[in-house]
Symmetry: D2
Subunit: 338 residues, 4 copies
């Protein structure tokens, strides 16, 4: 079996992590090309992967015949265009989440993929590849908690006093589209792909008043009603004091399953004048470090002819659709029917 | 200082617990009378408290001049009438929650109390007297988590396959008024008595189809928006597999505090073929056993001239008001403004 | 059934706790007398229990015919003499642990009790009455972990920078006799009363150099070999930073059971810049508050004709015997055969 | 920088894990050769690493000039001879623990290494490379718990009803040399390389009577006294019901630090009729999967000219020396001076 030759696009913080995984830790993958318009990012790539072709321009990168699969770690606003161009160039595509903040754009990508159905395209909902979420999914699937009817899920980031995300807010899609889409995707996955019927949302600015200008919030809650009475309750926050705290609970008729109830950094506990305690994962990087690797392994394996990852463009579209509805529900103060 | 002479009304399961506390464990209290229309309950009282006067009829009981304070553990539908009658008879009143399922009735009681302002009246929101909730409240109050802006709270009961509560449903006021009022009261207390502005609710029947007839559900979620951006997310369930699971989390700008994240029965952990585990509190009795005692001690102490408990009839009215709004929001599928 | 009329001797910190329990919280008990040579302690008793007779002198106290049971919370060096005198006066006796630091003295008490076998005598190994330890005992007894063959148990106190216990050391019997006897008693109870064959001990002074003078240590470990291969590993410390940390683990052929693995103060958890944490019980008072009450209830109930507590003078003697052997093993650096 | 070319010897269960890591996940390493006398193992290597040279015989393997470093995952009895031969052939050596069960043999290896001091040799005490142990070490080193004076550490395996290790017992060195050497090495590392002065040990056969024949046990405890009053208490077991349970606690004058108090498999918790629980790591493979990888990365990096791992042959010798003393102490029932 030939190696899957991968070209990475975008070498910011997360892009570098992907690049390192693809270069060194994904059996069956070879990192053959890297592309970035940023000089400093290209320098980094050159230094770390001497045998990798470096491109400044996405178009010339796509002309590189040695690339089998494109790995997009670029701004969301570029995703749709870049995916479609890659498909036209005959490349498989991995793209960081979200697919797009715009539903029509999602549809265009889906249509493009339909015309290149032999190519693999996956949006990186990384949590599906986390060992603990995987275990939870399999436990639910084999009936360990009876019929699952409710998911409670949160994506809560450690407060950044510098408020980087405040500057990022105007293009992020807002709290629900930036953070809660992860939880929406998990909920759909864990509940067996139910159909969303209605959403409601609420929220507040706890710390970052700068968000008010663009209508965003730093703490938000949402309720998603699916068919057959299945329910999801979401929480997203930018203001945690203790670290990145992603948790999910699946409640069924015969039990409940939670993932990440204590966002412990590792297996260390400290007993001192502060009590009995453990450190917490500072960011999603530490929390999902292994999941990013498994995600890459899974996608490369599926491209190489292995098991499909089960994650489709429709899943990505649905996350965006529900995220948009949550934002709208928050803005209007009314439930939004889907 | 003279003992507070207490007469208890209603000797069902919870009434007996109150009676035992008042008879044996509340310094400064004396259980001098008991009242029940049920023969078996009176027999129990006679056997356990030989020196206590036994009444069949509430009116004759109120004529008992030796009773300083009336302890009502009776059906909710009787609360308002019995409280007012007790006030007229010059008695202090402790009454199990909720005050009433009807807001107008709450107001009548509040007015009656205004005419007897020297008498103490308290509705038993028992969780405020739990040592852990008390600790959480004090930590929040002294600023341990910065400004608290959000509460997530749940009241989840172990599933009763016999579905006792299904038969009880038509008179319980429904899931939100029966269970979530506890969480509503906790949220208001922990957030510093904010004013509720709007509520939304959703829910489902996971197991007990018999509830459908009376419009009730066995799992429900609610969002309460308070002023100044303070928020509360509620969950109530009748269908837990593992036990009674009451949890509350207060989230602030500098930290978060939770109570009861693991509904552990005690300090025992077991490592065996099922993994590492602990038993859970089967019902609210085991979870709040100590709190019922402290509640009684606190009310008796306040009647005897000590510190007020801080729990007012207005608090009880507000819990009912928000509970009714949640029920209405669930029924209509629309947010309800308050 | 008549109330058991109790007279308490010794009203220091722990004595006052016992007195309050006996006065207000033990059904079937009446606190009728108190005895202390210390003026301040008698004043406290007078103020708190106005109807209780106050004695300065133990002999005159024993002449008080209204006392059915004597409750000794006095220095260890007085235990044996006071118990024997109380038995001669026809009183039941509860006595704080340990029975005595001297084995011969233990035997004299046992012989005295044999001559007054109708009287109840119990040494207060309070942990046997803790709800969690009781649950563990019952789980082990019904076979939940198969055949129990090993106990690991620790008694670790929060460091007292003032080093009160250093001044107390010359009369405490040393770390093993003061602290580990609790663990020894638990181990024997949980393992089904095995016979001790050999002990070994080691230890160090981590902080309190003042202990060196009297041959004591502030951290010690011990191994007790019982018959049939049953084993116990002990740890005792005076220097914990986080609080009073008493833990016990019972290991069996089909599972293991632990009590108190996290010495949590209550059900509150805090998430803040220190991580995820809980406060710890500061002293044994907070940890065993309920157990002291249950202990009193159990002894009073047994005196009143109820179920025996199962705790005998032989148990107390065995704890002392093993404690002395541990001290000797530590001093000699050699195992001590029993 | 050139890649380190590695040849692996021994492809049993653990050898295969090492081989996969070296082939796919260790930056800077290339798996160029594999050696095993077992046909099935060579077949596995051929199928998984098509470009790797396969050897049946260790001598011919050592003649392979393309091998820079030898990776020994062979029976303990071969370690010393194979290490020395590899050194003579000018190869760096990684060798699974323990170095040897015989102290004289350890010394011979150390002497051989002295004659080839430019070559790297490391015995795989894998736990030093576990992220949690590493965190604990660094916390202790920077004074987070004051002066560390005590370590409690256990290596407890899940019971294997088939009793594989019973058949393995005659050549394993016994419980202390097979399991506790890990804890001994951790204790020395965490306490700052103290000098052992005396050990004591005890133990029992809880389940596997077949061990009696060769003088081994399935549950053992040990005490190691180091200089300056530093202490270590060990526990090793073959009979856990819940899984592989390796835990270590470091106690200092200003706090205590534990690693692995709950041997949780992952971040999933289940609430069902068994209570609140988590699955446990079934074997050391799952527990130390990442550590085996980091260990390989660290050794390869040090060979390639990076930071030394800090793990010396003297450390390995000391673990064996203390392990032998523990075994002797158990056999004699007496403390053994070192």
């Amino acid at each position: 079996m030939n190696a899957v030759r991968v070209g990475i696009v975008g070498l910011g913080r997360l892009g570098r992590r992907h690049a390192e995984n693809l270069a060194w830790r994904v059996p069956g993958a070879r990192l053959v090309a890297a592309c970035s318009p940023v000089q400093e990012e290209r320098d980094w790539a050159k230094a770390h992967f001497p045998e990798t072709a470096i491109h400044t321009d996405y178009e010339s990168f796509l002309n590189d015949a040695s690339v089998d699969a494109v790995w997009l770690v670029t701004p969301t606003s570029l995703h749709a265009t870049q995916i479609i161009a890659a498909l036209r160039a005959g490349k498989h595509v991995f793209c960081e989440k979200p697919l797009s903040l715009d539903l029509a754009e999602c549809d265009v990508v889906i249509e493009a993929h339909a015309r290149h159905a032999h190519l693999h395209v996956m949006i990186g909902f990384v949590r599906r590849f986390d060992a603990s979420y995987r275990d939870a999914f399999e436990s639910v699937a084999r009936g360990a908690i009876g019929r699952p009817f409710m998911v409670r899920s949160q994506t809560c980031d450690k407060n950044d006093p510098d408020g980087f995300f405040v500057r990022f807010a105007p293009t992020s899609g807002g709290l629900f589209l930036d953070c809660s889409v992860h939880d929406v995707d998990l909920a759909r996955w864990l509940l067996g792909n139910p159909r969303a019927k209605r959403v409601f949302a609420s929220g507040t600015i706890a710390i970052h008043e700068g968000l008010r200008e663009c209508g965003d919030i730093d703490n938000g809650v949402g309720v998603v009603e699916f068919d057959d009475g299945r329910l999801t309750v979401l929480y997203a926050s930018r203001t945690m004091a203790h670290g990145h705290d992603t948790q999910t609970e699946v409640i069924g008729t015969a039990g409940a399953l939670s993932v990440g109830r204590n966002p412990r950094l590792n297996r260390v506990e400290i007993a001192d004048e502060h009590g009995m305690r453990n450190a917490c994962t500072p960011t999603f990087f530490e929390r999902f470090e292994d999941a990013f690797l498994r995600e890459a392994q899974a996608f490369v394996a599926s491209v190489a002819g292995g098991t499909p990852t089960g994650l489709t463009l429709d899943d990505a579209r649905e996350a965006t659709r529900i995220g948009i509805a949550l934002r709208e529900a928050y803005a209007s103060g009314r439930p939004v029917d889907l």
